[in-house]
Symmetry: C3
Subunit: 311 residues, 3 copies
Amino acid sequence: MVSFDLNHVIESQQFDRDILELVFRTADMMKEDLAGDRKLAKFLDGKIMASLFYEPSTRTRFSFESAMRRLGGEVITTENAREFSSAAKGESLADSTRIINGYADLIVMRHNEAGSAARAAEISRIPVINAGDGAGQHPTQALLDMYTIVDAFPQMNNLKIALVGDLRYGRTVRSLSYLLTKYEGIEIVFVSPPVCRMERDIKDYLDKYQVPWREEDDLSEVIREIDCIYMTRIQKERFHSIDDYREAAGKYILTPELVAQMKRDAIIMHPLPRVDEIPPVVDSAPQARYFEQAQNGLYIRMALLYLLLKS
Amino acid sequence: MVSFDLNHVIESQQFDRDILELVFRTADMMKEDLAGDRKLAKFLDGKIMASLFYEPSTRTRFSFESAMRRLGGEVITTENAREFSSAAKGESLADSTRIINGYADLIVMRHNEAGSAARAAEISRIPVINAGDGAGQHPTQALLDMYTIVDAFPQMNNLKIALVGDLRYGRTVRSLSYLLTKYEGIEIVFVSPPVCRMERDIKDYLDKYQVPWREEDDLSEVIREIDCIYMTRIQKERFHSIDDYREAAGKYILTPELVAQMKRDAIIMHPLPRVDEIPPVVDSAPQARYFEQAQNGLYIRMALLYLLLKS
Amino acid sequence: MVSFDLNHVIESQQFDRDILELVFRTADMMKEDLAGDRKLAKFLDGKIMASLFYEPSTRTRFSFESAMRRLGGEVITTENAREFSSAAKGESLADSTRIINGYADLIVMRHNEAGSAARAAEISRIPVINAGDGAGQHPTQALLDMYTIVDAFPQMNNLKIALVGDLRYGRTVRSLSYLLTKYEGIEIVFVSPPVCRMERDIKDYLDKYQVPWREEDDLSEVIREIDCIYMTRIQKERFHSIDDYREAAGKYILTPELVAQMKRDAIIMHPLPRVDEIPPVVDSAPQARYFEQAQNGLYIRMALLYLLLKS
């Protein structure tokens, strides 16, 4: 039996295969409990989670707060945490973390600067969960993504996974790439315009773990062979001209025509919010899993709260 | 026995007389429970309400959140829901609604655009309550207004009701007008400056339901004959000149002199907040019911939460 | 046995020695309960606290909300209470208070204008706690400060207390000064630049209660004789020139060299947030009590909620 020996959840690399399996089995348990007898409805009764958001992210915050409340815990919350430092004209994150330690049993932190959650965790006597730190990581998103893939393909045999869109600046595809190395027989296809290619550090990491990868420009080139398409949004700001953008964007929209070419048992994922990279008409395709994926965020976050606070 | 067969609360027109009576009897039950043995203090234990406010309205939000908590339910809340769409640079209300469906058991939505709550309700598997949608409706306000009138006049015989102030742009008087058609023997007097007259659609609706109405310019002309005065604020911006405003505003201030001319058993209502259209000295008049009316909002919202979530 | 006969907590002067002792013993009880069997974990079950913040102060708000939740109570919260008056273009604090009375069992109010909490308390049928009102008071801060001093020096014999920094504009040192008069044998040293001297009204109050006080310019002059140093931040804006500021600020930084000269059983306090007036290296000094002091805020606020709502 694997024990959950993490004190904090800061980055994807913390999770090895055994701990991933433990988290995913716990998420299964949460899903069953919510659909069933609610034995866990008061499990975290009396515990307090502090939602410490230095920038607003209502969707992520709601997911964590719903998870905490579904387990009977309480929440104190701010999307205005930046006020800690502005009011003080310079209070350190360390001091803020120490103070919150007196008020809560766990901190969920969203910050605009990479590395913030790790710095808070160094000081904190209570668990810190990174809910996104700037250009850094968003590990609970990576966990729910991986959980969705494992759920669809329990055997995880010879899966071909396309990561599509803005791979250079997209925090989610970077975090997910780390987790994909924990599984055998995965092959990755990076599909992006040249200006949005996946960064070197991730490619090196994949090489180190002997995960085969290749790069493609055009989604239509690979659509037939893929088991899992992970779509992300391409932001206009990345391109030198609006014409470049229009040309590029068209290649990364998952049209019904492309979906029709997909394997029947393939799945379509997206971290959401989407804009036009997946048209609403695709929602009814059997491959569409992105709303289920978002829902899995609740189970994963309940699982992490359970594992971090159960003792 | 009437059953509550509404899945959502979007507009006043949804409520027929039987359902109104059911809601009002349930509100009575809430009032008794709060004053008494609190048998319902844990009735919604384990349920989560999402307060999804696309624009701030602390008063309305507090009323709903207090109602949910008085019944033992939990709340996840944002006054920053606009961030859903801005962060995504265009996420649809449909997608946001689908996501929230995974986190909560009921949505209370305030939005700046008319029709938003109805669009969310089309998608939502969980109940949606419209807490005001721009120039559209604010049905829970109309319900608490109607509840206050019925409470004061249980027989509802031959009531003469003056709606006073900005009738053209005032959402509350429009929503209330729909509900007034459900009762017999009501006569409406619209009291407003010419630039703020009630719109044609409401007048047509009243005609269709054979509710007599007339228009007056000046509150002092009708003050003696009225059973219920519903005051609203006139905004300066409606007038062409500040002189026009000053002249008009004076005619729609409920001075102590006017109150002295009212029937003893008449009632004064106001959706609040008020500014100077009812001077504080009037608060001690026996006819003043506006704070009781605000308090009724709690009972009505508890009743709706109870009826929508009890199954 | 002293009974707690305060209906509201508005200013330090309300607290006499007996009530202070009652509050502090109750805070002790809270500390024990949190560390022990949690008999009070559901004590305020079903009660609702309204956090009514007219300006953001996440730290103070979190402290109150954590206190309420540690006692099993619920919270409705806004840092946007100013919206009450802006939306209404002028709703009175009295009206807002009346409305909130219908939604909650206790109000915690932070306001930008001195006297606001007192005005709300005049109207309110439910308890109001002042969580800071502009240049006015912050009585719960003063209580937690006093509690920290009494905890460190239970005999309170011949204590010499230095209040250091911006004494003219600092709300906390003013509120604490009132409480210090309730104890025998205390001597106060005001340490500040001439532009930030303590105001006359406080000096007169101390004289009236025969509390000896003197003024010093330089912390290093008094560091050896002090039992308790209460540091506060000096804001640049108070000085006529940046050179004046630099010269002054250096005299009010508690360097490790100064700490080395302190009595071993002396204590260092700070209301936090700090900027550079206490360098982080001092945190490990045995005299440092400022994080414990912040933590005491939780016990004091739990005690006040308990005492105000227990009946």
